[in-house]
């Protein structure tokens, strides 16, 4: 599904990613961990198409398409979804209007008919309920004045509505209390299916108690320096990153 080869990325002439290699197959859940500043969020944003990041080398294939050649909205139409670390507040655009526009834009791009107002309302109601959200929240301006938990829940609502093929969660769990964390992980678990994949960027092992990953990768200084299964996350939780850093630097020194 997703093949990242030797991906190198700079921001304002500073190299952040120094050669990422990653394969994600349909149905897999990959967790990406690593200390602050290791490039985790950069990887997530580059996959979604953020312009400030300059790809200096490498390729990304997504379902046989050259992902790096696609516009941001085309990537969404192809099935990529990024849950933002900091969802953007947009005063004056109601959450309802935004969700309708997004759903219909994707349907149009796929050659499907737009949903009529009744179908749309039914869908929105069903999914807001699923996320344990009050319907009144649809009338509010997008993310404006939302609490941290509400913003993240709104991201999960969008994911549930858009049903992407590959969902990338950029620190969606940061700053959430346990109830909100359960809602986020329930949303992911309900969407897990043999043809849908997830990349979960996180700082904390705690999330992985609720969303059990198939693979755990550790990003350090712009490279994946270690990969394993969920036990690797537990080991990091116990021992921190120092041993990983030591290993990585030893390998570089050779």
């Amino acid at each position: 599904m997703l093949h990242i080869k030797d991906l190198q990325v700079s921001v304002e002439d500073q190299q952040i990613l120094r050669g990422i290699n990653l394969d994600v197959k349909p149905g897999e859940v990959h967790a990406i961990m690593g200390p602050n500043g290791s490039g985790k969020s950069t990887l997530a944003n580059v996959l979604a198409g953020r312009e400030e990041y300059e790809v200096t080398s490498g390729t990304v294939q997504f379902n046989q398409q050259d992902l790096l050649d696609m516009d941001v909205d085309e990537r969404a139409h192809a099935g990529i979804f990024l849950a933002f670390q900091y969802p953007v507040e947009i005063p004056g655009v109601s959450t309802m209007n935004f969700l309708k526009s997004a759903i219909n834009a994707q349907r149009t791009a796929r050659g499907e008919a737009e949903l009529n107002p009744m179908e749309m309302l039914k869908l929105l109601r069903e999914k807001t309920k699923l996320l344990g959200m009050d319907e009144s929240f649809l009338k509010r301006s997008l993310n404006e004045g939302f609490s941290g938990g509400e913003k993240k829940r709104n991201e999960m609502l969008q994911m549930a509505l858009l049903e992407p093929k590959l969902a990338i969660l950029d620190e969606t769990d940061s700053g959430l209390d346990i109830d909100a964390l359960k809602i986020v992980s329930d949303a992911v678990n309900q969407l897990r299916s043999p043809d849908r994949s997830f990349i979960i960027v996180t700082h904390y092992q705690r999330l992985l108690n609720y969303i059990v990953p198939d693979y755990v990768h550790v990003l350090y200084q712009g490279r994946i320096v270690k990969s394993g299964n969920k036990d690797l996350a537990l080991q990091l939780e116990d021992q921190g990153y120092d041993w990983i850093k030591a290993e990585a630097e030893a390998a570089l020194a050779q």
């Binding site: 909205d73 969404a76 953007v88 935004f98």
Partner: protein, 453 residues
């Protein structure tokens, strides 16, 4: 004044003089009719004044030369089709309509049989036959207004063909909005017109007035020089809408002078979409305490359009509140101007005065000049002003696009939302919806230029 300028204004004075004689003849008012004398006084005042130039502080960013060099003629009545009239219907809103074509009242198209009870509606010349009303009108026109060198006010008073006098009686709540539609249509020569409204809201009355300025296809170059005087007695409430959809060759200068006495509420809602040069002077005098004033303005300019909003709020007495919010979007080579003056006099303690102007400038050729001015002589007040000029937030564009919304649609949504913040303050939901629809239509039309620039 330079010789060149004198020459320019001399030719302007020539065509004005000719028109003025014509105006007097057209209205066949004998020298003893009070309105004729009123016109002559106004014309004498006009002749004694210089037209503003960019050397005048209040006109620094707006040149009226283009207007003055065109020898305009008085407009005359011509027919407007039923379809054009139907086109003016504000969806879901029942109104009492008055229709004006090229500055002349078309009574046959107006709802004369449906003038609400408690409302007096008369041509100004008729109203002036009553000495008390005449005195009131003269007291209104004696008010200075907020803009210096404003020759356009006496011009309006000298030339108006169909000024209307409105008086809302004590305790009367006019339930249907008054919808004044001003059409510009095609004439042999460029014409000018002078929409004129004198609105007297008596004690505890309530009224909504919608001015609707528009040009029909093929109208060509026109000059609309409108003026409205609004006097609110104690506890009165006036909602004043101005929707402007002129063509791109039309010039419009609009003066609104408001006087508020105690416990009154005046709300102004302005939507400027059309026109080549648009200049709005909106001035309110808060003469007594506990008044409330809201100015909500939007401007959406592209191409060579020039839109200038000047506002003046004079806080003379304590416990008054004023709130101004103007937002606009400029693209191509459009220019926007906002000059908001708030004066808080020494006696105006406990004043709350807030002002905000925000503009999106979407092309490198577009220019916005914002000049908030707060002058405070009282010490126990809450006042603030702010002006921001910026681009569309690219992080927001990215967020919308990451959900599959194409770039042009994402930009449209954000621009609509930007102006929507002003529009949603309109007290009539139907007007807010109507304004949003007109804005969406124009945004769609100009989106192509915005994307490519």
């Amino acid at each position: 004044m330079s010789i060149v300028l004198q020459d320019k204004q001399a030719s302007t004075r020539e065509w004005l003089e000719e028109n003025f004689q014509q105006t007097l003849t057209d209205h066949q008012q004998g020298t003893d009719h009070p309105h004729a004398g009123f016109r002559r006084n106004a014309f004498a005042r006009l002749q004694s004044m210089d037209f503003p130039t960019r050397r005048d502080e209040d006109w620094k960013y707006t040149s009226v030369n283009r207007i003055l060099i065109t020898p305009f003629r008085n407009g005359s009545l011509s027919s407007v089709s039923a379809a054009e009239l139907a086109n003016c219907q504000i969806p879901g809103l029942e109104t009492t309509r008055m229709v004006f074509v090229n500055g002349v009242w078309d009574q046959s198209l107006s709802d004369l049989d449906r003038v609400p009870e408690g409302l007096i509606l008369q041509p100004v010349h008729q109203a002036m036959e009553d000495p008390a009303v005449r005195k009131w009108i003269e007291s209104q026109t004696a008010r200075p207004g907020g803009t210096g060198q404003n020759a356009f006010l006496p011009m309006n008073l000298a030339f108006a063909q169909s000024g209307l006098y409105l008086r809302v009686g004590r305790n009367i709540a006019v339930d249907k909005p008054l919808h004044f539609i001003y059409f510009n249509t095609s004439e042999d020569q460029p014409h000018f017109s002078h929409p004129q409204i004198f609105l007297h809201a008596e004690r505890s009355s309530t009224v909504t007035l919608i001015e609707d300025h528009r040009a029909l296809a093929g109208a060509g170059t026109c000059f609309t020089n409108a003026a409205a005087w609004v006097d609110l007695e104690a506890n009165a409430q006036v909602h004043h809408y101005r929707m402007q959809q002129q063509n791109l060759e039309t010039y419009q200068i609009h003066n609104t002078l408001v006087n508020q006495t105690r416990d009154s509420v005046y709300n102004s809602y302005v939507v400027d979409l059309g026109g080549r040069i648009i200049r709005n002077n909106l001035s309110v005098e808060l003469a007594e305490s506990n008044t409330e004033t809201h100015f909500y303005g939007t401007y959406l300019a592209n191409g060579e359009q020039h839109m200038d909003n000047q506002t003046f709020i004079d806080h003379a007495m304590p416990h008054c509140q004023s709130n101004e919010l103007y937002k606009g979007i400029l693209s191509d080579r459009a220019r926007g101007v906002f000059n908001g003056k708030v004066l808080v006099r020494q006696d105006a303690q406990k004043t709350n005065a807030f002002q905000q102007n925000s503009s999106l400038v979407l092309s490198s050729g577009a220019v916005m000049d914002a000049k908030p001015q707060l002058e405070i002589y009282a010490d126990d007040v809450k006042c603030s002003h702010g002006a921001t000029i910026g681009h569309l937030d690219e992080t927001s564009v990215f967020y919308l696009m990451s959900r599959g919304i194409p770039a042009p649609q994402a930009r449209l949504l954000l621009q609509q939302a930007f102006l929507g913040e002003v529009i949603r303050n309109m007290h009539l939901e139907e007007m807010a919806n109507y304004a949003l629809e007109l804005i969406a239509i124009k945004l769609n039309a100009v989106s192509q230029t915005i994307i490519t620039s």
